[in-house]
Each structure stands twice: as structure tokens, then as C-alpha cells.
Symmetry: C2
Subunit: 142 residues, 2 copies
């Protein structure tokens, strides 16, 4: 067993789960459920995004993406429509309600990241980003 | 908006979600559902652990921990019993079935970490651990 690898995995999982608890508690009052915020935050204000592309970018199973997007459609945060370029695929875009909630989610995420990176200088943060991106690259298309 | 912080959060979330997809697919055949593996892997082979402590260590909401543990009790991977020191709290320990599945989960987790840290030397990994631990420390008791 490789203790170093184990420690990396454990810390990443811990950080992610604590983030989910924090974000969900803060966004609960806006009717945004678990995992829904990340779709809203990933959608641009002025254009639509292909559903498969979104799934891939977020690292989420396509079936789960469909489920979450359908919930967001019901809550009127996003529109879902057939792609004009490829009628077999779907695209999503933010509704006016979705556009209004996006900066609120951004603020909550920024607050969380401030808490998490407290006491870390820019050089340390840059090094973290670089290393995390190396890991993302290794697993992105798996 | 702080782009650096944003990038750290985005990468950590991506890595966590891809890991969940990989682990769930590999453990599906053993009847281990989403998020259940991390409880089994965290329990020692020869003693029991307090439920609140486990929740805190994993960074999981106590209500969710209770739900997952109850599912694992039903599947006979863990026992749940009242603490001898404090009759108001619960402890959990691995059953024989749980003890048998633990090394299988460990192997899947190790395979994933090997994939993820491909091409990274020990010094880089040590630096990642150090930085992630700084973040864990910042948020652990929030």
C-alpha cells in the first residue's frame, strides 16, 4: 500500500465533502439542492452548452447530469433544448432566474475558498493549482 | 472574483467526482453503493469506532453517516452497537464480510491513485500532501 497516494486521496475527498456541506447549507434557502449549484455556476450568462460537454467538464456521470438538469428545469433555473447543430443532443442555458442566482453562488464559493486557503501565499496556491491540474489531466478521459 | 481560488476548488471537485465514478463502477459487483466504500475503508479490522468521530473524520454530515451505516448494517458489512462508555452514542465495527471486502476496496483505491498520480515524483507528491493538509486544517472544524 502506498501511504503517500492514500493521503492525497483522503484529503481531496475530505475537502470536497466539507465543501458540499458548506455550500448546501448556504444555498438551501434559494432552493438549490445538492450538486445543482455546480451546473448553474458552469453555465455562461449569454449562451448555451451541450449536455455531454458539460457532463465531461464537470466529471459527472451523464445519467446524473440528466437527472440534475431536469430538476433545474423544473425549478426554472435552466432551459433545456435540442441542439441546432445536432438534433440528437441537448443543450442547456440559464433562465433569467438562473442568471440572477449565479453571482450568489459565486459569492458563497468564494467565501468557502477564502476559508480553505487561509494563510497560504500566492506561490503556494500556484503550486497547488499546477499539481492538481496534472492530476486532472491524468484522469480527465478515463 | 479570485481566479486562483476558483481553479483550486474546480480541480478538487473534478478529481473527487471522477474518483467516485471509477470506484462505484469497480465496486458495484460487490454490492457496495455510492459513498459506502469510504466507511468500510475507514474502519479498523479489530476494533469499533464512534459514529460521530467517524462522521467528523470523513467530513460527512452526521445524518448522512447514519443513513449509510444503516444501509451497510442491512448488507451485513458492519455491526452497529451502543457505546459501552457512553450509552447515548453508537459505535460501528466491521463484520467478517466487511473485513473480507476491505482489502478489495483498498486495491481499487490504490489503482485509482496510481492512475491519478502518474508521472509525479515523490517530492511533488509530498508537496501536494503538505498543501492539502493545510487546507484540511483550515476547514476541519467548520
Amino acid at each position: 500500500m502506498n501511504t503517500t497516494n492514500k493521503q492525497i486521496g483522503k484529503s481531496i475527498s475530505f475537502i470536497y465533502r466539507k465543501k458540499q456541506i458548506y455550500i448546501n447549507a448556504k444555498l438551501c434557502e434559494y432552493g438549490i439542492g445538492c450538486s445543482e449549484y455546480m451546473y448553474i455556476i458552469s453555465l455562461p450568462l449569454d449562451s448555451s452548452v451541450n449536455l455531454s460537454y458539460l457532463s465531461n467538464e464537470l466529471g459527472v456521470d451523464p445519467a446524473l447530469t440528466t437527472k440534475v438538469i431536469n430538476s433545474l428545469v423544473k425549478k426554472e433555473f435552466v432551459y433545456k433544448h435540442r441542439s441546432e447543430n445536432d438534433k440528437r443532443s441537448f443543450e442547456v442555458s440559464l433562465t433569467e432566474k438562473g442568471k440572477k442566482i449565479k453571482p450568489i453562488i459565486r459569492k458563497v464559493l468564494d467565501e468557502w475558498m477564502e476559508l480553505m486557503t487561509k494563510g497560504m501565499d500566492d506561490k503556494t496556491k500556484e503550486s497547488i493549482i499546477e499539481n492538481l491540474e496534472m492530476m486532472v489531466k491524468n484522469i480527465k478521459y478515463r
